[in-house]
Amino acid sequence: MLGLQKKDFALLMFVAALTAFAPFLLNPFPVDSALAQFNAGYPDLMQRFVIFGIFAVGFNILFGLTGYLSFGHAAFLGVGSYAAIWSMKLMTMNVIPAIILAVIVAGLFSLFVGWISLRRSGIYFSILTLAFAQMSFALAYSVLTPITGGETGLQPKVADPRIFDAALGDGELPAANLFGLTMKSSYELNIGGWLFTFNAGYYVAAIVMLLAFYMAIRIFRSPFGMMLRAIKTNQTRMNYTGLNPKPYTLAAFVISGMYAGLAGGLMVAMDTQVGPERMFWTASGEVVLMTILGGAGTLIGPVLGAGMIKYMENIISKINEGVLYEWFAFLPESLQDLLVTIIYPFIGKGWHLTLGIVFMLVVIFLPGGLLEGGERIRNMLSRKKKADPGKDPEHHPKPSPHVA
């Protein structure tokens, strides 16, 4: 189906179902219950899930597949965002041109950065991308203030020209839309104690994400993907067989840069503003965390990783001391205090600590990420021995047609 193997098609359908029913799946608790704060089914957060999913999937093509660790990918996200916002300021508030422009500009920028950075590999490559990203951040932050809005960033204003849009009526504010359907519009479904929100912006982003995911599967399974894997495994050997890895790595770099730009454009389409902090190097570190956490080199891993980190960032960080005391209200007071004192540093404002610890544990014990962890647990439960290596499609793909 769609040119995919059966298993991949099943995966794609699974992801499609997940995204389509996300407003239900992420809202398991009634609104009034104490657990309602674990609900993640509100538009803002769901959009983040899919947008950072796109970002991580793209990053995975470079890191997981090709083996190049870039520490500067947030720069492409930021460049895409700025391109999208300028499309909204100058042309139209429609999101489609904004997203297309974001992808193109990010692609061109990543072509430039990749062309230079890919002369080196290993740690030098990481540092070069880091240097480029920090430079872009500094440029956006101060030097290019007329274009980037400096520290305050940019957002569409009523007075912007917008040559393709009809003039705004009195009191109307520019709102991102898709041929008239505003991104903010949502339909609320109230069943019993549950409240489900279906948001236009989320579904636009989700469809784009599915397309991007489909593209990623095709890339993974293509001869081109095989080449990228070969580069990761042993570049020297590849050179000896008479193949020049440079065009392949550059293509992978640009593709992942375009994915980042797509994510940046979508971010602007959902929340029409952009600031330079989006390009700071820790933002690049975040996408690295997402990819590793979920499982680098796997198809769905980065999406899961992105979802997990964004969930932690938005849900765990909301829990405060009072909520903890409520949870443990049934315990004797001294025990309550003890538990809260132990748990408190790891939640709320301290959620980064949990993130760091989880991340370290994953790097140390589970180099394949959470997906590998899930696999191990499943194997343990079904008391099977290790999966037969010959049947692992990731590392022993079916022989594909000869690559010229």
């Binding site: 101060s142 760091g356 370290m360």
Partner: protein, 343 residues
Amino acid sequence: MEAILLQILNGLDKGSAYALIALGLTLIFGTLGVVNFAHGALFMIGAFCAVIFSRILSLSTVTEDPTRKDFLGNPLKIETPYVESWFGPELGSVLINWSVPLSIILAIPVMILVGLAMERGLIKYFYKRPHADQILVTFGLAIVLQEIIKYFFGANPIPTPAPDVFAGSFDFGALIGLEAGQIIYPYWRLVYFAFAAAIIAAVFSFLQFTTFGMVVRAGMADRETVGLLGINIDKRFTIMFAIAAVVAGLAGVMYTPINSPNYHMGMDFLVLSFVVVVVGGMGSLPGAVLAGFLLGILESFASMAQVLSVVPGINQIIIYLVAIVILLTRPRGLMGRKGVMEE
């Protein structure tokens, strides 16, 4: 002329911080072959040793002074630091005043312990794994350390002043025969520079003139052969890691009066120090020091008003620009050795 001299001074000063961190980074890299993204965190821990030590020194008892009244007529509460009651008020206040330089006493054992714990507890298991894994795990560690510091000390910068003696500025111009007041420079920055020079000299002479240093240098060149000679090279490398941690920590301690320590100072310096190391040449100690001072001076020249009026914003990006140019023209950095990190 004065302006240029002043910028060189400024640059030497920025460069001292870069050079010290990069020196430790290179020590770890050159000996153990580990890319340590948690090195900035070590710098930060050093800085917070100064904070902790000054807090310990100023721990105080609260007593009521019946002779003085506040505006409500209650006896005034006065705080007497323990050090003052133990050593007498004069020596006590001097001790508190000198808390930053004195913190070195606390910082050295703490940094040795932290360094040993890090190497034995974590880094040891990553020698054989790819550099990407090393970067990732130390990056995770850096986040954890940073968050722990944030939990205990909060997110705001904590002012940690230098001793009063060094509070003012030094008229540098008078020293070299210029008019008074033309080049004035804060004392503590000169102290920092002198301190950095001393540490760098100490590390170099330790490696150059002691048997231990000789063995370590041999191990850097060929670890296996040194091991075959019956020398426990792993143990020595562990010690080298601790020394690198101490260098970073002391750089942090002495840096606190220049910039109040906060929880993200490690990450701020990390990126820069990596750029410095790469520009200097990975694994080259003189390269790291040279590149540190060079980039520091370049940065301060780029922040001159005359330069900024021609190329606005160049001060923000000069270091990265230089790094990119150098990496592309001299792939091994300024003084890089052959065979380091070249796969």
